[in-house]
Symmetry: C2
Subunit: 117 residues, 2 copies
């Protein structure tokens, strides 16, 4: 089975200061990304089963930092570095998405929502 069982994209987009939409990582570093990688390694997960991948803009900027897990297309928003272990251990290891971090359906890819004017 050569395909990744799960491919996790972590938004790493950086906009200039003062841009109209926010950035998922304001300073070009991503503690969230690093902690997801560390947690996956600690759980014994790695290629080819799982890849934690930096992505450029996932277009959910008002809900960031944003993470999407494929192939199941589970979207997480407002993810903090300290959430990384829970995402790895619950979702990637145990197969149970972390409900408290999931973006509401009406917020994903919506032109307007309570957070995106």
């Amino acid at each position: 089975m050569p395909l990744f069982e799960r491919h996790v994209f972590v938004c790493h987009n950086v906009r200039p200061a003062g841009a109209p939409r926010p950035s998922c990582t304001g300073d070009g570093t991503s503690e969230l990304f690093a902690r997801l990688q560390q947690a996956a390694k600690a759980a014994g997960l790695g290629a080819p089963a799982i890849r934690i991948n930096k992505s450029l803009c996932l277009d959910q900027c008002e809900h960031g930092p944003t993470v999407v897990v494929y192939p199941e297309a589970v979207w997480y928003g407002r993810v903090r570095p300290e959430d990384a272990e829970e995402i790895v251990n619950e979702h990637l290891v145990a197969g149970r998405p972390v409900e408290r971090l999931r973006l509401a359906d009406e917020c994903i890819n919506a032109k307007a929502c309570p957070h995106r004017g």
Copy 2:
């Protein structure tokens, strides 16, 4: 249905000159990405149905430029800008992956393959 029906990640990774692994976009621009976006727009595809997304390293560097389409996890390699219309019209519109561009199973996420020593 708020989720993207298809989420297309185009590797946009740039390594320094002389790096041991190649880059999918050597100069930080990506005509492939631009042409995929143009072709999708011409075909009437856009959010929320489809997103053409820049990604950082997809770790298939020896087969790049690399594109992966989720949720079906179809991987394309050595994609040229002039392949963009075919990917959009055949795969994204008609639902038929472009077989001639697909990476061989034994090359995807392999530690070694005929192209990755």
